[in-house]
């Protein structure tokens, strides 16, 4: 798909296209807000249900808080990914998008960034709320925790955006996307939880370095793999 005279102009065209897709998705979301509000509400109810399931012992809740936060992010985020293609499929806009000249990876990058912004915004509400509900002291370690949340979310959103490009176009998409996505996320979940724990509770053994490497490696490997494979997935 490289009908561009030079690589440099191809890059800048791809960059502008990706930005256009990102802008379109964010604008559509901002104007409706239906999706965002629903996903946040779902995340909040998940936090409360976890409290009921594991509480009322405050100490037990605090110990499980990190795991609950990450599970809530995964369960809430997965709702957003299908939606990100759904609106375009309903109106036939995806086909129009595919007919534009240029690199189709720009569509992936744009959608990836839009989903990343979406999930990070959800986290901005969910994580402080979890800190209050479960009595976890987070302010002290906020910058490091934000870094871990960001790295974990990048890997999650990368695979989520990639698999949703397929799952949103078949029957039973609501169940198919988590079925495809969640087994793939096991290393990411382990690394994200261990890094978050090291940040919040301290880590005498210094194991967090290994987990940080897993997190970064996971992000890089699947970002590259998704960019290479997206062309095959989206073409029709």
């Amino acid at each position: 798909m490289s009908a561009h005279p030079t690589i440099a102009s191809g890059w800048s065209l791809g960059g502008r296209q990706a930005r256009a897709v990102l802008w379109k998705d964010l604008l559509a979301e901002r104007r409706t807000k239906v999706n965002f509000n629903a996903v946040v509400a779902f995340a909040v109810i998940t936090l409360l249900l976890a409290g009921f399931a594991l509480g009322p012992d405050a100490e037990a809740l605090r110990k499980s808080a990190i795991g609950i936060i990450w599970l809530t992010i995964l369960f809430a985020g997965v709702l957003a990914f299908n939606r990100s293609y759904q609106s375009e499929l309903e109106t036939g806009a995806l086909e129009a998008l595919l007919h534009y000249a240029g690199d189709r990876r720009a569509i992936f990058v744009g959608k990836l960034l839009a989903n990343l912004a979406f999930v990070l915004l959800v986290e901005l509400i969910v994580v402080p709320l979890a800190a209050m509900l479960y009595h976890v002291e987070m302010l002290r370690a906020a910058p490091a925790l934000a870094g871990v949340l960001f790295l974990g979310t990048v890997g999650f959103v990368t695979l989520g955006t990639f698999y949703a490009a397929m799952a949103s176009r078949v029957r039973a998409r609501e169940v198919l996307l988590p079925l495809l996505l969640f087994p793939m996320l096991v290393p990411l979940l382990l690394a994200a939880v261990e890094c978050s724990r090291a940040v919040l509770e301290g880590d005498v053994m210094g194991d967090w370095r290994a987990w940080l490497r897993v997190l970064v490696a996971f992000d890089v490997i699947f970002l590259v793999a998704s960019l290479l494979a997206f062309e095959h997935v989206i073409e029709d």
Binding site: A172, P183, V214, A229, H232, V233
Partner: protein, 257 residues
């Protein structure tokens, strides 16, 4: 195995279309013979290994599940490796033969993984006292099983055949890339939380029996994969022939070999 010229998919359609056209090829007899031989060899090597091995010092006769467990686990992994290889080849050249092989390997591999997990639990209960531990091999096998269940579900839910093949290939490649990452991360996770997993070396008395069974089992699994790929080919040839008949013209490219 099947020696009749009419394959089972034909019975799923209307009776008058049971013998749709001479363009649908018959299943390979050579493959059926290979399957019969492979199956016979598995039976022989199983019986041989079980009779020849003395009861294990620690495990007694429970050890004998090794002769089916290790070959199953090994060939499941081999099958998923082949899914990866054929998926890459399919994405590269879009040759439908590679897609059929990937499908055959994925179905056989998923069934073998389920068997591996069941056998592991059956062995684990008397040996460790529990049906399940969070051992890296066990956990990775369970995650692998779920990844390929997703793969097969995606194939099943995708109506467009060519599209399903492309998507499945992408999922097959991603899933296999992830297997070592899952294994390493689960192992680290366990090491940090101080749980030792037991690993014991295999005595030479048992090793020969195990090796022979791994070889014969692999032959059987190769047969099953080829058989599934063949049945996929016949299904598609049949579809093409039926479509051609309904449109009232001669089939164009039914049953490419």
């Amino acid at each position: 195995m099947t020696s009749s010229p009419v394959m089972t998919p034909a019975s799923a359609v209307a009776p008058e279309a049971r013998r749709p056209s001479p363009d649908v090829p018959a299943p390979s007899r050579g493959l059926a013979r290979f399957g019969a031989v492979a199956f016979g060899l598995v039976v022989l090597s199983q019986v041989g290994a079980i009779l020849a091995s003395p009861p294990d010092a620690a495990m007694g006769h429970t050890q004998k599940i090794m002769y089916v467990h290790v070959p199953t686990a090994w060939s499941a992994f081999l099958a998923f490796f082949l899914v990866f290889v054929y998926s890459v080849r399919y994405l590269w050249g879009r040759d439908e033969r590679n897609d059929r092989m990937a499908l055959g390997a994925a179905e056989v591999g998923t069934a073998l993984t389920a068997l591996t997990l069941a056998q592991g639990s059956i062995w684990g209960k008397p040996t460790w006292g529990v049906w399940w531990t969070w051992d890296p091999r066990l956990t990775t096998t369970a995650i692998m099983f779920l990844i390929y269940v997703g793969y097969l579900a995606l194939r099943a839910f995708t109506d467009d055949h060519e599209r399903g093949a492309r998507w499945a290939a992408a999922v097959g490649v991603f899933g296999f890339i992830n297997v070592p990452i899952v294994y390493m991360s689960v192992r680290w996770w366990r090491t940090i939380h101080q749980v030792q997993s037991t690993s014991s070396s295999v005595d030479p008395v048992y090793r020969i029996g195990l090796l022979v069974n791994v070889i014969t089992f692999t032959l059987l699994v190769v047969y099953l994969m080829l058989k599934r790929a063949e049945s996929a080919r016949l299904e598609r040839a049949l579809d093409a022939a039926l479509e051609a008949r309904m449109l009232g013209r001669a089939p164009s490219s039914a049953g490419d070999r």
